[in-house]
């Protein structure tokens, strides 16, 4: 069963009359349960693609079907709901709420989904335990190391059991040992059946994935299983 079907996705930016084609008619699909790494040189359009896959941005043209639903032409409001329930996004710079306890960060998507408060606390605690932070739940985001912050972000991404986990250079800001810890979490999630798409520059990180898509100048130049 297909989780992602991207058909001729195109993204253009127009700045002061200069046109940049960040994505040039990209077509590919990802099946349920796959672990895919996206690689490519800087400026090749990886993040642009990821933002469209994450419903954070809309393509200039082309269609995008996520978990059986075409979301290339839905309203802003519905898009918010899709980001909330279907997508778990992990950013390179963690993007936690400043000075806010870890557990509250994990509970945030559940609040927007109107999950009852008791269930939020219980599930957030469970997820933080899963990423090895059971003793850091009350710590504020600024009292955590980079690796710990990224683990909070992963727990947050898993909050509503999303259809797909998207990660844009999740280890980009981390030292090697911390990066490995994060990748072990992703590997475990993959083994449990989660669908994961991850951008990375580092071959050592890409090794964890089962398939590598390489972009250059907004086009797919290679797509290999490994």
């Amino acid at each position: 069963m297909l989780m992602i079907e991207a058909n001729k996705l195109r993204k253009e930016y127009h700045i002061e009359g200069v046109e940049t084609v960040a994505l040039a008619d990209v077509t590919f699909s990802i099946a349920k349960g796959e672990f895919v790494a996206i690689m490519g040189p800087s400026g090749s359009g990886k993040s642009t693609l990821m933002h469209i896959l994450g419903a954070l941005d809309q393509p200039t043209s082309g269609t995008y079907v996520l978990d059986g639903q075409d979301i290339s032409h839905v309203s802003d409001r519905d898009l918010a709901g899709i980001r909330n329930r279907k997508i778990g996004f992990v950013f390179q710079s963690y993007n936690l709420l400043p000075r806010t306890p870890a557990i509250k960060n994990v509970m945030l998507p559940m609040m927007y989904a109107n999950v009852v408060p008791a269930e939020r606390t219980e599930r957030a605690a469970k997820l933080l335990t899963l990423v090895g932070l059971h003793d850091r739940m009350g710590h504020r985001s600024n009292q955590l190391s980079g690796g710990q912050q990224q683990r909070v972000a992963i727990a947050r991404a898993l909050a509503l059991d999303p259809a797909i986990i998207l990660a844009d250079e999740p280890t980009g800001n981390l030292a090697t040992t911390q990066a490995e810890e994060i990748m072990h979490i992703f590997r475990d999630l993959h083994n449990e059946g989660h669908t994961i798409v991850m951008i990375t520059h580092e071959p050592s990180v890409a090794r964890y994935a089962k398939r590598v898509i390489t972009l250059r100048d907004g086009r797919i130049v290679s797509d290999q299983k490994q």
Binding site: D57, D76, A80, R83, N84, R85, R99, A113
Partner: protein
């Protein structure tokens, strides 16, 4: 989003950014506090002037000798002696047709008053029994002048509280004592209750003696003024005109412009005084408006300065599933929270400032509702608009643009 979530998200955010919260709140508190205090003081001074004038007597109309000054030129010749006791009696006889309740002819002058070695210079008023009613006099001890005192031109005196305490160290024992007005001995028969007042026409700083006694003692036949109480519920200006034309007939004058007396009613007096104090209130309100503006700019600055941090926060919240509507509601809740608490503290501050100022200026002042409504309305408006405006702009960015915002 649940209401409880909105509230806890707002309080969390305000608690986590204590400095920002404190600064924004400070602007609101000072703005509202200053405005409330200034407007309350202005209005209270207006009210206190009006109530002081009212304490001089209710529905009061005063006739004094001499013509009205109009256009800088005296309208007609007329000395200071055109009013007589007889005029007052004639007016009193026509009381029911003129819609008046009481008539008080008065002779007023200043004299030296002594008790053993203490002496003072004060206003002496010759009055009749009507004086007590017309000027709303109440006695703190003893009694007022009676009809028998008038009939016998008795040498008795009623003291204002200020005079009494100047002349007697122990005012309770003053009744029955002798005072000397220009060396003539008078027996003190009563002391009036304080009305509160200052200046030249202070109602507490005077001595009242029988009118007949005063005319004999000072060798005059005229009176210095006739005070009239109009009936309740009638228009003072109408009564004033009726009394005026009646007096013109008594004086055999047919032309109003050559009247040899002047009539004023209390409403005019209050009007004139109110004009002065309302200018004062306007001035205070102007200062208040400036403090409100400064407070508002303070709030605005704080809200705008945090825009970068908050835009990223909005991007994040949207990335995690908040709709634009939810984000705006959330920010609005925060602003309302801030202004409600700041407003409440501001009202308290305003009350304290008003009380202190009232104490220092020795006047009675209290918070007035319009002041509170105005101050809270304006600051709440500023707080909410400047909290909401950047939020609603950011809420309509795409989540990615908001996250990248710098």
């Amino acid at each position: 989003m649940r209401v409880l979530d909105l509230l806890t998200t707002a309080t969390d955010s305000l608690r986590l950014n204590k400095m920002r919260t404190a600064l924004a709140m400070l602007g609101i508190v000072i703005g509202i506090g200053a405005v409330i205090a200034l407007i309350s003081l202005g209005q209270s001074s207006q009210n206190s002037v009006a109530s002081q004038i009212n304490s001089l007597g209710k529905n009061l109309i005063t006739i004094s000798p001499g013509a009205t000054v109009s256009g800088g030129v005296r309208g007609a010749a007329g000395g200071r002696t055109t009013l007589t006791l007889d005029n007052a009696q004639k007016i009193a006889e026509a009381a029911s047709s003129l819609s008046i309740a009481a008539v008080s002819p008065e002779y007023s002058t200043r004299s030296q008053v002594t008790v053993s070695t203490t002496n003072t210079n004060t206003q002496i008023i010759g009055g009749t029994t009507s004086y007590e009613n017309v000027h709303a006099v109440t006695m703190s001890s003893g009694s007022f002048i009676g009809q028998s005192d008038l009939d016998s031109s008795a040498k008795v005196a009623v003291l204002g509280p200020t005079v009494a305490s100047t002349l007697f160290s122990d005012t309770t024992s003053a009744i029955g004592q002798t005072i000397r007005i220009n060396r003539t001995a008078f027996r003190v028969i009563g002391i009036m209750t304080a009305k509160g007042g200052t200046g030249f026409q202070n109602p507490d700083d005077m001595i009242i003696i029988p009118l007949t006694t005063a005319q004999q003692k000072y060798g005059v036949k005229n009176v210095s003024s006739i005070a009239i109480t109009a009936n309740d519920g009638v228009d003072l200006t109408t009564v004033e005109n009726q009394v005026g034309s009646y007096l013109l007939t008594l004086h055999n004058i047919s032309d109003t412009s050559s009247a040899d007396f002047t009539i004023r009613n209390q409403q005019d007096l209050i009007g004139a005084a109110t004009k002065v104090t309302s200018t004062l209130t306007a001035l205070l309100s102007g200062i208040a408006a400036i403090s409100l503006l400064v407070g508002g700019i303070g709030i605005m600055n704080i809200m705008l300065v945090t825009v970068i941090e908050r835009t990223r926060e909005i991007g994040l919240r949207k990335a995690l599933g908040a709709t634009s509507g939810v984000v705006i509601t959330q920010f609005l809740t925060e602003s309302i929270f801030l202004t409600v608490i700041g407003g409440a503290l501001g009202i308290v501050l305003g009350g304290i400032l008003t009380a202190i100022a009232a104490k220092v200026l020795n006047m009675s002042a209290s918070l007035t509702v319009p002041a509170i409504v105005l101050a809270v309305g304006v600051s709440a408006g500023i707080g909410i608009i400047f909290g909401w405006y950047p939020a609603q702009k950011a809420a309509h960015l795409s989540p990615i643009d908001a996250l990248r915002f710098e």
